[in-house]
Symmetry: C2
């Protein structure tokens, strides 16, 4: 996250001379940022610029660098990121389909603004999806996969005890994403990811008090227990309850 700052900050100088060279250099900067240290299987396919741009813009929106209602200025943004308008526009169109920005004819794109009702509606759908995911996961997940989620959970608890809110949030999201994945239903995982992305911005803001935070952790404790017991009824119920509570936790923040 923080690595992106320099890219955004070093600019707005009107210096345009020797454009192509300077831009190419900056582009490489961006690319290098995204080179994952994956030692995993498969070829080390270098991330395409399109994906990188989409990721950057997404992060900027989620983190609040681009608040809701902000007009995405193509020229300015392109200069900041060191790319020309063309790939930038393509990334924006992609995000528009994802629902993060809105396209206004002849007036470009603006960061979508979500009302409290929108958030509540999204959480309602997310709840339904997670209930389904929980049921399916209990049936289809392997023991190894469940163990991985357990590991995430334990790490999350450690972060909670350390008071590391940021990492806690990250792991929290990862756990929910993992459960969606465990359902072995790609469409479900897709829809879940999309909603989660739209909600990230909100959750990112929602700072809960200590007691609510503790409650959330307790719910996660129940979740992982139900998953390990492959108790689909309980898991589904807990996941549903967890999101009902989530709404109560963020409602005043929205």
């Amino acid at each position: 996250m923080t690595e992106k700052a320099p890219i955004q900050s070093d600019v707005l100088k009107g210096e345009t001379a020797r454009r192509s060279e300077a831009q190419t250099r900056q582009m490489n900067e961006i690319k290098s940022l995204e080179q994952r240290p994956v030692g995993g299987p498969g070829p080390i396919r270098r991330t395409a610029l399109h994906d990188t741009l989409v990721g950057h813009l997404r992060d900027m929106i989620i983190e609040g660098n681009l608040p809701p209602g902000t007009r995405l200025h193509e020229g300015q943004l392109g200069e900041q990121l060191g790319v020309s308008r063309t790939p930038l526009r393509e990334a924006i169109k992609y995000l528009a389909s994802e629902g993060l920005v809105e396209l206004v004819p002849s007036r470009g794109a603006v960061v979508k603004r979500f009302s409290a009702k929108d958030v509540r509606d999204m959480l309602t759908v997310l709840q339904t999806l997670e209930e389904l995911a929980g049921r399916l996961a209990c049936e289809t997940a392997t023991d190894a996969e469940i163990a991985e989620v357990r590991a995430l959970h334990d790490e999350m608890v450690r972060r909670y005890e350390a008071g590391d809110r940021m990492q806690y949030y990250k792991l929290n999201q990862e756990i929910h994403t993992a459960i969606a994945r465990l359902s072995r239903n790609a469409a479900l995982a897709d829809m879940h990811a999309m909603l989660q992305t739209r909600l990230k911005r909100i959750r990112f803001i929602g700072h809960e008090g200590p007691e609510k935070w503790a409650a959330a952790v307790a719910e996660h404790q129940e979740m992982i227990a139900a998953l390990e017991a492959r108790d689909e009824v309980t898991l589904s119920e807990v996941l549903g309850r967890h999101l009902t509570k989530a709404w109560e936790r963020v409602r005043e923040a929205v």
Copy 2:
């Protein structure tokens, strides 16, 4: 649908002379096709080219003009549609986010191929969403809105009796979309629309026998009755059953 044919067919001539003039003319052709005869409220905002292109490509994929696995050739497609590569690429990126095409780095985009399991998974999620939508719709829909759905339903039955499969399908989809909309949950409607779009291609193919078709109509009869009675339990159950059956109807076609 058929209006698009001429645009696609009149081409592949290497004629490039006086490009800008010719292309402008063709662009206007496309735009004029999409001018809806809406007498609805609000200004008659002319459809932007981006939306038009997205719609065209979507249709071409759904209707099978661009079968799964087809590589979207930018130069060729652009010439066919009478637009340059730039807006075309933007439309493709949009569709990629929608899940209709897949982006392969340095190799363009290909029409996504759905396995039988993919279809089944999508129907599973759609089922869950429609069950939710049914419950919400019973609570929040106005009588007038329900009457509109009833009108769609009656029209659909007429098309069924007339044996007009194409219009039947269209109205069928519209009814399901309408129910999703009646939930007054934008996120739900969004996710529903996205899944429905991905599935359109499949349903478009699935040619059921007369008896299965009759069964589907009977289920719709139940649906509309439950909606008018605002019987959310029954409506949810029928919608769920309807999609379980839908899978049985298309499973061998996939």
